[in-house]
Symmetry: C2
Subunit: 382 residues, 2 copies
Amino acid sequence: MKDKSFLMIPGPTPVPESVLLAMAQHPIGHRSSEFSAILEETYADLKWLFQTKNDVFIYTSSGTGAMEAALSNLINEGDKVLSLVIGNFGNRWAKIATSLGADVEKIEVCAGQAIDADVLKQRLDADTDKEIKIVTLTHNETSTGVTNPLKELIAIIKEHGAVSVVDGVTSIGAIECKMDEWGIDVLISGSQKGFMIPPGLAFLAASEKAFKLHEQCKHPSFYFDWSAYRKSVRANSTPYTPAVNLIVALNEALKTMKKDGLDNILKRHARHAKALRAAIKAIGLQLMVEDDSIASNAITSVYPPAGITVPDIRSTLKKDFDIVVANGQNDLKDKIFRMGTLGFVCDRDILAAVGSLEAALYKLGYKFQLGAGVKAAIENLV
Amino acid sequence: MKDKSFLMIPGPTPVPESVLLAMAQHPIGHRSSEFSAILEETYADLKWLFQTKNDVFIYTSSGTGAMEAALSNLINEGDKVLSLVIGNFGNRWAKIATSLGADVEKIEVCAGQAIDADVLKQRLDADTDKEIKIVTLTHNETSTGVTNPLKELIAIIKEHGAVSVVDGVTSIGAIECKMDEWGIDVLISGSQKGFMIPPGLAFLAASEKAFKLHEQCKHPSFYFDWSAYRKSVRANSTPYTPAVNLIVALNEALKTMKKDGLDNILKRHARHAKALRAAIKAIGLQLMVEDDSIASNAITSVYPPAGITVPDIRSTLKKDFDIVVANGQNDLKDKIFRMGTLGFVCDRDILAAVGSLEAALYKLGYKFQLGAGVKAAIENLV
């Protein structure tokens, strides 16, 4: 039905109408005092959301741009980088590091698993010469729906002394991530996720320790240069013309989020994912991530039942119920479907999604207790 | 007056309401068939606007991002680059090339001047060993309002054999720029200029010759990688999550532009700039670029009259007449003000701007024949 589409992919995520309307205003000059005042508020609110005292840079780019911004400001050719890979986005860190000429070693696990803290500790303990300069990792792996035990992993990296570089694209604003308290060195995110605005902006915060390594970087990216961005942030400005309308939208979204309260937002995400997972199980489908302790509060990956394909489920959900869910990526294509419960999602949306999933499966001939999913969801929501 | 602000800066430029409303729609999935269809149209329309058969990449970035995208896909450490510098943006090419480890030589002229074709020819003729791999240049220099004789300069570079890399940020869609016919190798632009959409997107097209040099590039940027973008464009997709809403806006804006016709759009820009320049002279102010053959059709730089400051003119125009004009940049700050006639501007806007400039100067105590500017503008518009 026209204009009824509801996005349950891991991004873009739904955007509040107040944010869309803020974005639709005529652009204002990016060097005006009016825009500078908006930036001042926005930079402060981003610190709140990142739970950090570090400056948070706003890049006009996708999340991958912020990943490049992280590594291209740190790596010199030949530097040793350890990449903890639990899926496609963890592997993207490794690819970017390699493209910058780093010597990349991976610790890799099967899809659906998280990094084992003991394995990381063993590897870093063995690095007695401190050859490893940087460890890259993913907080919430968007391709599988696994959340790494970030606090624990960061503590191990901190003890070793390497600079930790964390992808928080689908975790910031959805899953607890305390940059300063946990001691994360570089943390990046993207706008079309927990931030409840359309894609086009990405964020990066770096610790003083990371900045020290940056100072040794011979050819930092000009466009993403941390030093230029830090100088601009502190002047409530940007080095180059920013995506003005998206920043106005971000300003509006962050105000809403502050009003809601971070703790409430994180609890809501946890409640929604828990309800969805319970519903999936009650329907009799298999979750990709069965271990609740590493299951994502932002993305839930589900195997289709025998005899029914992922494309069938996706197209029935889309055509008949106006819900868009994501396919698996690369090797997982057509093996799983992924449901996002990320950003601007209310309890009613979860019930609508579970009800629609039940209806789609019913239509596709899957045999199960109709209503079992919604029952389980309600029990976990109320 | 609230909601009455009119931007006459060199970007962001005014955006049509139909484009703002298209942008304000709920984001759609960037991997959906619906979005793929929008990309297919948009990529085709960009080729039309760039007057090229080359693929035109859409980057989520500012124009500076596209500049980095150009050079970081071409330069290896130590490569010789010749930068033709007629202002800040020409110099930005040199800075980015330097940041990538290139050996940069500049041909530089004073603010308000263009590159002399003979000087370029002499330098390139002297390069008998073909050491110069790349020549960077600016089509329309935003900081001064000078348009280089691009066709002529490109012909000289082509004869030498170096790859030409052109900043068309404030020229594409405003000033004639024929990529294929003139033989430009790399051409970049930005969304918040002649494209009539807000900032956040940048564009790049590269010739086969440029792609051959790209193939020798050891560490191309991952985020901006031409090869990844070319593959995606040809599949009506993007390598990473694009700024979906801005692309929907772009699609709408390009449809409007095609309907208007490129020739009519370019003529309108020429007529507006000519009328504005005539008005400025009739009021008795001095233009920075007195030579009509290199004066920009997109940006007009003006010296304030004796005894009246640039900040006074800018703030009076803004406060009393809701018109935003730009200050000079760097060394030119408070020396000139810059008026953009770029993108979504109609004849009435020119009369409003000239009338308001007259009124502001009158209020600030400048003595001149009231109405002389508007008279000259009308004579050039009608």
